[in-house]
Amino acid sequence: MTKLSPLSVPYRVLQRGGSIAFALVFALASGASSIPFLGLAGPIAFVVLAALIILLVVAYELAYYRRYEYELTTDTFDIQSGVVARRNREIPLRRIQNVDISRNVVQRVLGVAAVDFETAGGSETEAAIRYVSFEEAKRLQGEIRRLKRGAEDPAERETEPASELFALSDRELALVGALSFDFRVPGILFVLGSGSFPILSTAVPDGGGFPVVVGGLLFLFVVVVLFSWAAGAVLAIVNYYGFRLLRTGDELQYERGLLQRYDGSIPLDKIQTLTVEDNPLKRYFDYATLYIETAGYAPGQGGGGRGSQAAVPLATRPRVEQLANDIESFGAPEFQRPPRRVRRRYAARYLIGLGVVTALLFGVDSLLAQSLPWFGTAVLLPLVPFAAHVKWKHRGYWLGDDHVVTRNGVLKRQIKVVPYYRIQTVIDSRTIFQRRWKLATVTVDTAGSLSLTQQDAAAVDVDVQTAAKLRGTLEERLRSALAARRSASRSGGTRTATLSEGRTEEPTDGVPAAEDRETDVSEDDPPTAESDPETERGSNTEAGGEAESTETRDPG
């Protein structure tokens, strides 16, 4: 059994102590130390109390260090921990999807790192080790990777050569900052800031009139734009400094980060969706970003959040498409756009939006003493048909040999590639407005996680008949893709995969959440199910309800 790094003790003490110290200083400053009935003894009692707390913290962290042990066996990763309540955990290696290492600046100086184990189905980190030395963290990462591949043969235990697929040059890093402009931010800030109009308008000198107000608004707009650009650039640079993408066998590894450094992995056989993303600025310069979505939780920000990781933060478009095709060979999509009447729908939508804004401005104007140029929105009118056309132009879907590819968005355009065998359910939805236009949206649900900003691959606003056909086709192709994989694995496909194949053959389909059901450590059952994975139960009463559940079989 291995222990944590000894340096973790002072670091953890500082971490915990930091917040306590802050609270103490705050209390001191606010005069809480002068407890009335103690008089002069008040501050002294306070200092004694503070010292006691510090001692307690140090003692606790020392105990935690001494009582924390872990061990990597051939099938499991065992952790024994806990100061007051002991906890023995055995995590089957099969469940571990990623081993992610992160280090902040202080940790890098000390040479320690935090290790997170991610599984496919959880909504939070399965296990977190705080802190081991960086070399030990790398060793764990490599060992688990090898053991998962079932490398029994000692000869295979040599370090597999990691080939570098992509490294972000300094120039590209600068471009990442420059081009990572979130076009929605200025809009949101503008809307939020518009609440200050009444106050601002009183600052405007009387008699200045229309040009001054417009000038002021423009100035404000430019300031907001520049600010959000700068913020986005700094964030992007901090996140992607020193970005590298490497391939080791059937896994992609990435390194990134300036302040917080991440060493993580993307298992190729867990990939649910590939996303090629760009914005108008990137499109102009012919650049794009590649995101890879796996099932389960991925720590750290800047990758799109939960479950989605930037595989290529920025590269020329052909290069991104090449790399994407290396991972999932989908070919060159020829998108089918929605019917042309959809443009009229978008134009109507924008006109209504403009109308609402104008009405709001008019209302504000009539309530205030100052006169607001509520008719200023007329300036945006000629843009409406252009905006509608552009939005329509960038929509599309394509059914490839093995993948369905969808394209949506203008300010943030996403081309999503979903292999047929990753499709979970197909959802056809029609809002009340879509029904009027005889349109529908077909959404492809995958096991990849969904954050607030990401969306599922969807063929949006297609004709209703196309939607019905699409539903049937997708279901059919899912079945044949699954059958093909099943028969391939039965005829003894090997486990190693080249990058161009992109996935290993597995006896069960690569639906990660499913694999968790058959393990003994049942920690990530779906939120509401009361199912026992191994046995069938008769009735299982719970507070207020009666649930009978059945486990079907080895998941597909």
Binding site: T425, E546, D554
Partner: protein
């Protein structure tokens, strides 16, 4: 296309009326404590919410349908947004049948189908009889097992 048991409308209408009551309480509170509204407003609001809720519940019942097909289960539902969902049997992780307290009083049950998806993670068929829910659960379970083990191709 199978429809749900008519009694599920009682559940939905009940929920709508409950919502109308809550809204009514809020409006009355606003009337007493904050802005004083004309005397007719609270009852009008309650009536409006109740009527809309009841109509929605009835329409919802009419539009709900499910079908166990050859390789998937197909559901149609929704009033404002009509949603049709196809859950292939191979994707079913497991199936639950459950009865909440209101359902037990009314003699109804729900069958829930779980997949590994994110948006369609659980798909429920409410308003079934207890036996119907158990039957559906068993049927789906067998179909799911068969779909997995089938040597297609």
């Amino acid at each position: 296309m199978n429809s749900l048991h008519p009694r599920v409308q009682v559940v939905w209408i009940g929920r709508a009326l409950f919502l109308a009551g809550v809204v009514g309480l809020v409006v009355v509170a606003v009337d007493r404590l904050a802005v004083s509204l004309p005397a007719l407003v609270p009852p009008a609001v309650i009536l409006f919410v109740a009527v809309v809720g009841v109509v929605h519940a009835l329409l919802r019942y009419r539009l709900w349908g499910y079908e166990v097909r050859e390789d998937s289960i197909y559901l149609e539902r929704g009033v404002l947004t009509r949603v049709r969902t196809v859950v292939p049997f191979v994707r079913i992780q497991h199936v639950d049948s459950s009865r909440g307290p209101v359902e037990r009083v009314l003699g109804l049950a729900t069958t829930v189908v779980y997949t590994a998806g994110s948006r369609g993670a659980d798909v429920s068929v409410p308003g079934l009889t207890p036996d119907g829910a158990d039957d559906l659960r068993e049927r789906l379970r067998r179909l799911a097992i068969r779909a997995e083990s089938e040597d297609a191709v």
